[in-house]
């Protein structure tokens, strides 16, 4: 079987033969059909988020259950599934029992299952999936069964970009109708935050990006107002003007940048909430003045994996897609075979693509 391997940070991936161990207790082997390229993959390949090297990136994945390890009861061979970095939880710990399974205390790091042909262990990069491989082994807690007739490329998008944007709006922030929303960054995650905010009845829904072409796309996903933060002399002021002078009730930061986080906080109104959902490299820090968060009681928080409950949120998203209320088709820029993975990554890096998807036979 083949996989795309990162041997060294910053270098092109090598598509090569790899070996895979069978699933252990609680694990499932998945035949991968589609894996989308996410910006977190790119951050990891560049070495900006750490992670094991050599390793296999890819974490927005869908495919079929090939084999189940001992003790697995939630899926059977042949089931179509999406594979995510979010855990559905042990069901037993504090966070699972209070309705926050994505924060499960027993969620363990994924063991290395792949090896190079010379026997070197291969980790998974940008999450415990290793989805840029023809087959992978993951925990049964990372799977959501999808309908048999659901297209695999769309399913792969749900597992991260859609779940993250949608979940930040509905699960973490609980955006209410008529509240004002800003989404900073209108890439794969940002557009999903925008369409979720529009679906929640937020108004205005303000898209902030540095590319007019992306802001146009944001319009198609439901944004009502637009700020080009490169062209606009004072993007914070622009947002305040669009929100009765106050700033927004909710600001979602979907780009992995500390500067965007700081800007976002000042785009929020007193008592407004800024939710960080784009992974910011660890060394990238944000500096606040002492009074910045006190005077206006602004809230700064984060959202991991859309705070998702997989078995509730994935079927809802599929239903909304089928009802024409959530757009997935429009998120896909191109399909690539595994051998062209570097071209797919490059076009994403250049900002030319929302989501490029690697398709497997």
């Amino acid at each position: 079987m083949k996989a795309a391997v990162c041997h060294e940070f910053g270098k092109p991936l090598s598509v090569e033969e790899v070996l895979l161990e069978p699933p252990r207790e609680g694990e499932v082997k998945v035949r991968v059909k589609a894996t989308a390229i996410c910006h977190s993959d790119i951050h990891c390949i560049r070495g900006e988020l750490g992670g094991p090297v050599p390793g296999i990136p890819g974490h927005e994945t869908a495919g079929y259950v090939e084999e189940t390890g001992p003790g697995v009861t939630s899926v059977r061979p042949g089931d179509p599934v999406l594979v995510t970095t979010v855990t559905s939880g042990c069901g037993q710990c504090y966070y699972c029992t209070i309705g926050l399974p994505h924060l499960c205390e027993r969620h363990k790091p994924r063991p290395f299952h792949h090896r190079t042909v010379s026997g070197q262990p291969l980790g998974s990069m940008a999450g415990p999936v290793a989805g840029l491989a023809e087959y992978t082994v993951v925990s049964d807690r990372q799977l959501a069964v999808i309908p048999a007739d659901f297209p695999m490329d769309r399913a792969s998008l749900i597992s991260c970009g859609v779940l993250t944007g949608y979940g930040a709006v509905f699960n973490r922030a609980k955006v209410q109708p008529l509240s004002s929303v800003v989404v900073v960054g209108t890439g794969g995650v940002g557009l999903n935050a925008i369409q979720a905010a529009a679906l929640a009845g937020a108004r205005p829904v303000i898209a902030v990006d540095i590319l007019d072409s992306k802001l146009e796309m944001a319009r198609a996903f439901g944004a009502t107002q637009f700020v080009n933060s490169k062209k606009e002399a004072d993007p914070i002021k622009a947002v305040r003007q669009m929100t009765a002078g106050r700033g927004a009730d909710f600001v979602f930061i979907t780009v992995g940048s500390a500067a965007a986080v700081k800007q976002g906080v000042f785009m929020s109104a007193p008592r407004g909430m800024t939710v960080i959902i784009g992974l910011v490299p660890m060394k990238d820090q944000v500096c606040f003045g002492s009074f910045d968060l006190i005077g206006g009681e602004r809230v700064l928080t984060g959202c991991g994996g859309g705070s998702a409950r997989l078995s509730l949120d994935v079927p809802r998203i599929i239903e909304l897609y089928r009802a024409g209320k959530l757009m997935l088709d429009e998120l896909i820029t191109g399909h690539y075979p595994l051998q062209d993975v570097n071209a797919a990554i490059e076009s994403t890096e250049k900002g030319q693509a929302l989501r490029n998807i690697i398709m497997f036979d």
């Binding site: 504090y94 966070y95 926050l100 924060l103 205390e105 973490r172 009765a244 106050r246 930061i253 500390a258 986080v261 007193p270 008592r271 960080i276 959902i277 992974l279 910011v280 490299p281 660890m282 060394k283 990238d284 820090q285 944000v286 500096c287 606040f288 003045g289 002492s290 009074f291 910045d292 968060l293 006190i294 005077g295 206006g296 009681e297 602004r298 809230v299 700064l300 928080t301 984060g302 959202c303 991991g304 705070s307």
Partner: protein, 359 residues
């Protein structure tokens, strides 16, 4: 009438004769009976918070209404009142959505200087009060009538220290019974956060301070556990006291960026750090956003205990009179206005929870 004026940062206040502007239609003139000294006053005097000079500090006040403007309806001359810096317009978005403490017009300077020196030099009245004076001129929204039995030296504490701590827990965070609470800093605001948490049924209520003496005081105000912030494993001790998870709520009542960072380490997943003490303006808080994402920790602030004066002050008075809120124990010493510099020095040394100037 006399007031204590700050002409130069970090120098002793000068007691001088001053004059108040005529009472405007929506204003109330209050004869001050008691004004407590808050750490924000000390920050002001040291020049650590921005603002012009000369000024008259003091924003935790209580007294008797001396005169009311033509449009004032809620108080009459002779009424005992608490005087707060929470000026509100009643018309803006925040006033109309039940958050008058975030009033968009609160910080607008008065049209006419509230106070002047005998020579006519305008004086900034801090918090639109200037309570280190025998009388003040404030907006009607800044006063709340008190029952006649309420002692004014204790009532003045409700204006800032008590409401900031108690309200930070009860109004801002809305702490629920059985949630875990950490309060960093067991000073004048911190002990009130502690009694707010204990009153709300939080458990455990963990006091964190560097002084053993203050941790003892914290226990008297309802802390169930005490952790010395100087110990290397302070965050680990908090985790041990919270089933290994870290706290649901961490209130940072000391004005220090280091304490905020320590607070983040003490909060559990989905836990919140609420900054209620004001760090010096020159200090900056540097955090890695990544620390907030996977753990979904929240960092926010609470301003003046998110206090709605007309609702909260009578409630706090009621709690005090029912024996459910400690105020007597907050007062370390009483000073006349002439001794205000001694009162400030004792606060600066950390000797006092609250020193009160009585007139």
């Amino acid at each position: 009438m006399k007031a204590a004026i700050c002409y130069e940062f970090d120098t002793p206040l000068k007691i001088e004769e001053v004059e108040l502007a005529p009472t405007g239609a929506h204003q109330v003139r209050v004869r001050i009976e008691a004004t407590a000294i808050c750490h924000s006053d000390i920050h002001d005097i040291k020049g650590e918070l921005p603002g012009p000079r000369p000024f008259v500090g003091g924003h935790e006040s209580a007294g008797y209404v001396a005169e009311t403007g033509d449009a004032v309806t809620s108080v009459r001359p002779g009424d005992p009142v608490v005087v707060s810096l929470l000026k509100s317009c009643g018309q803006c978005y925040y006033c109309l959505t039940g958050m008058p403490h975030l009033c968009e017009k609160m910080m607008a300077p008065p049209a006419v200087p509230l106070m002047r020196t005998k020579a006519g030099q305008p004086l900034v009245a801090k918090g639109n009060i200037g309570g280190f004076a025998e009388a003040v001129l404030v907006d009607e929204s800044q006063v709340v009538k008190l029952p006649p039995e309420m002692p004014l030296d204790r009532a003045c504490l409700l204006a800032c220290g008590v409401s900031t701590g108690f309200g930070g827990v009860v109004n801002r965070a809305k702490v629920r019974a059985l949630q875990s609470v950490v309060v960093i800093g067991a000073g004048g605001v911190g002990v009130n956060a502690i009694q707010g948490a204990a009153y709300s049924g939080a458990d455990p209520v963990i006091a964190v301070d560097v002084l053993e003496k203050k941790l003892e005081t914290a226990k008297a105000f309802g802390a169930s556990h005490a952790v010395n912030a100087k110990s290397n494993d302070a965050a680990e001790q908090v985790r041990r006291l919270t089933s290994g998870r870290g706290a649901d709520w961490v209130f940072v009542t000391v004005g220090s960026v280091a304490a905020i960072k320590q607070g983040l380490a003490m909060a559990g997943k989905r836990g919140s750090v609420v900054i209620i003490g004001l760090p010096p303006v020159k200090d900056t808080l540097t955090i890695a956003p990544l620390e907030l994402i996977a753990s979904e920790r929240t960092l926010t602030g609470g301003f003046m205990g998110s206090t709605n004066l007309r609702v909260d002050i009578p409630r706090l008075v009621g709690l005090y009179r029912a024996g459910r809120l400690k105020l007597d124990e907050l007062i370390t010493e009483r000073f006349p206005l002439a001794k205000i510099n001694d009162a400030i020095a004792s606060m600066q040394r950390g000797d006092a929870l609250r020193n009160v100037i009585v007139f």
